[in-house]
Symmetry: C2
Subunit: 258 residues, 2 copies
């Protein structure tokens, strides 16, 4: 049986890799991933054939994973975070869909048994480190306009503002792309106060992790890089400070019952 | 040092409990949780003092956890899924906030060291089992109007529709509450096609797991209970069927590059 696992390895800390993820990687002969993720995981991936394709080669990576599995090699396509959230899993299904529709010429892909293993996403790691910002309704918006028209992204930011959702921005900036985050900030400022708490989480759960709590008015793309999660509270999110501690949380509304 | 861990144990499958969660529970003398979750987890929780408070006693559970920790007992407040997502973590911070503001009389709470351990949420388990529905921008909406006014919930469903977000409904129904889900369906039908894929995931990753893929028009509260996750695709989500397999995924837009 040809088998392809699509595996999310969590934000970086090996203690947040699920036992399920470790088990399925152990069953595999071949691992397909952007090299940096494999480095982060260390021991778990030792003794396997690594197929390391650079960032930007996502389609080639998904094809390679399907081809390896179809050739009989038990294979894992690996991403950090949750492979189902802005990651490689959807691309594998998009390729299968194209094959079903006759737009690809790889019928052997359809014999591959696929299993998806979820992982802790960056927004969850960030929220946990800083408190409970995801305590009430939230949304995620990717600011990358490589595959999604900016008009669609802008419409979503307006909807996130109008609905007063906590917003996690994925892909907030890249080397070539920096204006979108400040535009997103300006849109949200039309819907919620300037002092709304914002969490800036860089390299979450990794050795050089850095977390800052600022306000929406202070948010600036120049302080954010591509390893950063940006999470904006809703109009009720609170930043609390006492002794040497600080937290942010979004209430569910228990206050009236306390 | 007084220590309180707020720990998410994932959707149910012990192989999705992070090593971090297992480690911190092992350090604790006292566990506070709704009993069903402890039963699901079995061995991990053995040999600890269990403080089992029923559903509906959330505030009492959060207070008890803070009190136990403040009294010097290393304590874990446990939930299924991610304790930061519609769960107990935010309530602990809400209580601390009330103490800071002088509305509680428990200064000892502020000496407790708190650490939050995230977990795999139901939407991630559901998306993974059925494909990659969370592959592009998504939101979560709780349909419980116990703590949130229905007008706010309705506004959020309209925003989710207008922004064309994939929508995960948490708390879709309860024993006393069943009309909200059908109203939510009717709102979303104003924004996206009747054939939009919907994932109905019951008891995800547990022994009696059941997953159905239907359309938005077919969604009906009478087929949903309080152990069910309901996830509605966006206008581009695809339901694919071949051989004996079926999947749902939300494309990121690679198609034009394939």
């Amino acid at each position: 049986m040809s088998k392809l696992f699509l595996v999310g390895m969590g934000p970086g800390d090996t203690d947040l890799v699920s036992p399920k993820a470790t088990q399925v990687v152990n069953q595999c002969s071949d691992l397909v991933a952007y090299g940096l993720y494999l480095d982060l995981l260390g021991d778990i991936c030792e003794g396997k054939i690594h197929h390391d394709l650079p960032l930007g080669e996502e389609i080639a990576r998904a094809r390679l994973a399907l081809e390896l599995a179809a050739s009989g090699k038990t294979t894992a396509l690996i991403s950090s975070g949750d492979i189902g959230i802005y990651a490689m899993a959807t691309l594998v299904f998009e390729l299968l869909d194209q094959q079903i529709k006759g737009a690809e010429n790889c019928p052997e892909w359809l014999d591959v048994e696929i299993e998806v293993v979820p992982g802790i996403s960056a927004m969850q790691a960030g929220a946990a480190k800083a408190g409970a910002m995801l305590g009430h309704d939230f949304c995620t918006v990717s600011l990358s306009d490589l595959l999604t028209p900016w008009e669609t992204i802008e419409k979503r930011i307006h909807s996130a503002g109008a609905g007063d959702f906590v917003v996690s921005f994925y892909n907030p900036v890249s080397k070539k792309r920096d204006w979108q985050l400040n535009t997103a900030r300006d849109i949200l400022l039309k819907y919620r106060p300037a002092e709304t708490p914002v969490l800036i989480g860089r390299q979450l759960t990794r050795e050089d992790e850095n977390i800052e709590l600022i306000t929406l008015a202070e948010l600036d793309a120049k302080n954010v890089d591509m390893f950063t999660l940006v999470m904006v509270g809703n109009s009720e999110s609170q930043h609390i400070v006492y002794n040497d501690k600080q937290w942010v949380y979004t209430p569910r509304g228990y206050k009236k019952k306390l």
